[in-house]
């Protein structure tokens, strides 16, 4: 059973989608929300597997809402017609449905979702689901930087860099800013994968290319993207301990 939440500011649009989803018994609509703030509340409390999300809503857009979440659920966007949003979709290949929704397109979108879910299961995800507040490396975050936005798997992020109150995250060839402090991030990230190298950087241990000795008994890490990060002396001891395990 897939638990879904519908977020749309129009009651009729939510009803219409619910009606369409009756054809798919594996989807259970567990809640509805009429704006972004309600949406965040419902997602945080109910932890759904899937969110149907309208983009243009009063107060905050669907994109803004996602960027505020620590951990992004799977999302299928719904929109009537919107040049701006369509452009964002084209760039990032996010899945979206145009209202009025065509039943066949809905089936396609849900089908794609199932495939991904199965793949994750195969990857041996069932280890420990115990601590929900901790971000797993297979979790994804939604990142919005100006007009561009991405769903990023934490395992694809090789580096977090502190920039004042913001953190710059490095993945692929992108390095957008998110409004989160490095300390807050460190608390939520899995320390087996994400290591605090120094005051300004958290690195993904699985995406290190090279390790070299550095001054004062420190280390210099070269990441897969070519960034060179210094490990402070104090952290070097911890780093060596972890790597020898």
């Amino acid at each position: 059973m897939i638990k879904a939440v519908i977020i749309d500011d129009e009651r009729l649009a939510r009803n219409e989608l619910k009606k369409l989803l009756l054809e798919f018994p594996e989807i259970e609509v567990i809640a509805e929300a009429a704006n972004a703030n309600e949406g965040i509340e419902k997602i945080d409390s109910l932890n759904p597997d899937l969110v149907f999300l309208d983009i243009q809503m009063p107060g905050k857009t669907g994109f803004d809402m996602l960027a505020e979440l620590d951990k992004a659920p799977d999302v299928i966007f719904t929109t009537a017609y919107d040049d701006y949003a369509l452009k964002a979709f084209e760039v990032n290949a996010l899945d979206y449905l145009l209202k009025p929704v065509e039943p066949r397109r809905l089936a396609d979108a849900l089908h794609k979702l199932h495939l991904e879910e199965n793949r994750e299961k195969e990857g041996g995800e069932d280890e420990i689901q115990a601590n929900r507040s901790l971000l797993h490396e297979h979790d994804q975050v939604f990142v919005k930087d100006g007009e561009r936005c991405w769903f990023v798997k934490l395992s694809d992020i090789r580096l977090f860099e502190s920039v004042g109150n913001y953190a710059k995250i490095y993945f692929g060839s992108n390095k957008p800013l998110i409004l989160k402090s490095l300390n807050a991030l460190e608390e939520r990230l899995d320390e087996k994968v994400f290591f605090r190298a120094n005051r300004k950087h958290i690195v993904n241990l699985r995406l290190i290319e090279k390790i070299e000795p550095y001054f004062n008994g420190g280390l210099l890490l070269e990441m897969k993207g070519g960034e060179k990060i210094e490990v402070s002396r104090r952290q070097t001891v911890k780093f060596k301990e972890m790597m020898s395990l």
Binding site: L12, N37, A80, P100, V101
Partner: protein
Amino acid sequence: MRKSSKYYWWLQIGGWGLLALILILINLLFGQRVDEQFLVGVLVKVLVGILVTHLFRIYIHYSGWLQLPVEKALLRLVIGVLIVCLLDTVIRIRVIQWLDPNAGGSKYLFSTRFLLMTVENGLYIIPWTLIFFFFHYIEANRKQQLDTLKLEALVKELELKTIKSHINPHFIFNALNSIRALIDENPLRARTAITELSNILRSSMQTEKQETVFFEKELDIVKDYLALEHIRFEDRLKVQYDIAEDTLTQPVPPMMLQTLVENAIKHGISKQVNGGTVIIVSRMKNNYHQVLIRNTGKLDQSANEDGFGLISTRNRLQLLFGDHANFRIREVNGNMVEAELHIPLT
């Protein structure tokens, strides 16, 4: 070309005629003899002058000097003038000899006479060339200005067409989506909604042919439009009308009110979590037809004043009613945005 050729002949004959007249007058004033030989000389001078400058003109047109940039044309022109002067001299000497075989034996040597005559020709030919080019320069300039004006008018016309036919696709698809949901929930309302939507679509297609429509017709579209938006927004949208009877037959640009109301929804109501009110006022005020569209919300300073919609609204009013029409948008009471149209009575 026809017209400028007519001018050309008037100027050509008038100019050379004037020259002949001046030569004769000077001779009279200074007590010189004005006999048959002198008059023949003047006549030959004028006719040969017309001939060579005409040939020169044909050549200039033929080789396209008028299109050349000034610095390139200048050198060609100097050489051209020199050749024309020489040609003039040669022809005149030939003609004079042919008329009076004895005239050659005057007090000057042939070479001196040749030189003097060429310099004298320069006195006519150089001004002729200057006038010729000046005239053409002015003509070309005026034509260019005319072309620019025509182009501007075309652009405006095209702009008007695109504004008129503009109905926000976002609205259409949202409306269709709501109607689909209504079909089960409230079939009766769904039926009227389809009528309302088709009214809007039809009038947006028809208005492309008209410059202005009665305010009443425009208001009907807006009522249909707001009825549809009410289906979408439900309690979040409240609408108030305050329409004076005598404004119903006033002419207004088609789809202008509609566009402004659409903006009131898009930038105002749809951004308010708790929704808001749209108020439409139409009344006579000091010989003007005043239309106000008020909506809950704040004026988005960053995007607004230069927005395409606002600029084109202003342009359309100006095109149709001139400087007396007016449009402005401002914030009132801190939580309302008011768009105001001022249209002179006709």
